[in-house]
């Protein structure tokens, strides 16, 4: 099974790799889901929400929460991490845009 590449995005090292670093590991599905949901890691180099939403990834969590609330996202404070908030904003703006690379933000 090919190894997946991950980036540590939380405040704690993951599998010996410091925050901000990328690493390769063949994680069990359940563990990969838990670590992503907790904000510990994200897939490295993915075409995920931060890349689709240039400008949003530069906002801090407080600014993202405010923007999410403006777009009708319920309880943005309760989302696990910035990636989840950005994805919620994208979905609220245009649910059909979830699979596209169009950047509709200013």
């Amino acid at each position: 099974m090919p190894q997946a590449r991950w980036k540590v995005t939380g405040t704690r090292p993951v599998r010996g790799h410091r925050p901000g670093k990328e690493f390769e590991a063949d994680l069990p599905d359940a563990q990969a889901q838990r670590l992503q949901a907790s904000g510990a890691i994200v897939p490295a180099g993915e075409t995920s929400a931060p890349e689709k939403t240039d400008g949003l990834s530069g906002l801090n969590r407080e600014e993202l929460n405010a923007l999410a609330a403006d777009h009708g996202v319920e309880n943005p404070d309760g989302l696990a991490n910035k990636v989840a908030v950005i994805e919620a904003i994208e979905a609220a703006k245009s649910p059909a845009a979830a699979g596209s690379n169009d950047n509709q933000e200013e």
Partner: protein, 154 residues
């Protein structure tokens, strides 16, 4: 640095589900105990006679609470809520596992979680009491390769 006899525990490595929480912890206890069954029979010499039964493994980790991404709360709360079993790995020193620095590992579950607990002005802290959650019990590995092979089997 190799382990020294009678040395204080300064650089313990504490990993919960792959997340290193060593710097958020100030106490760790790995306990392995056995049930004791009285099998005293007649015509002995006045002593009770016991035989060991099943073992119980527990890992207690005192942590400072931390709500940031990928840290204590974000890691442990979902595990507790969902009743999931995750791998806990404790080493006396933050060095590769060896005979002098064994990796003690257990697939464990949480039966109690205290998300908020502190008096005014005090740092929040709690004890994460992990109990064995698989057929493997508490394992000891003397190399990182052995630990990784075990983890791959889970």
């Amino acid at each position: 640095m190799p382990a020294l006899p009678k040395a204080p525990l300064l650089d313990a490595s504490i990993v919960i589900d792959g997340v290193d929480v060593s710097n958020s912890s100030n106490k760790v206890t790995v306990k392995d105990s056995r049930a004791k069954h009285d099998v005293t029979g007649f015509q002995g010499e006045g002593y009770t006679e016991n035989t060991p039964g099943l073992k119980t493994a527990e890992i207690s980790i005192d942590v400072f609470q931390d709500y940031t991404g990928g840290s204590i709360h974000q890691t442990c709360k979902p595990v507790y809520d969902n009743g999931e079993a995750v791998l806990i790995v404790i080493k006396p020193d933050d060095e590769p596992a060896s005979a002098e620095n064994p990796a003690l590992a257990m697939v464990a579950k949480l039966y109690e979680y205290t998300p908020v607990d502190a008096k005014v002005g005090d740092p929040q802290s709690m004890t994460l009491a992990w109990e064995n959650g698989s057929r493997h019990g508490l394992k000891e590995f003397k190399s990182d390769a052995e630990l990784e092979a075990f983890e791959a089997e889970l």
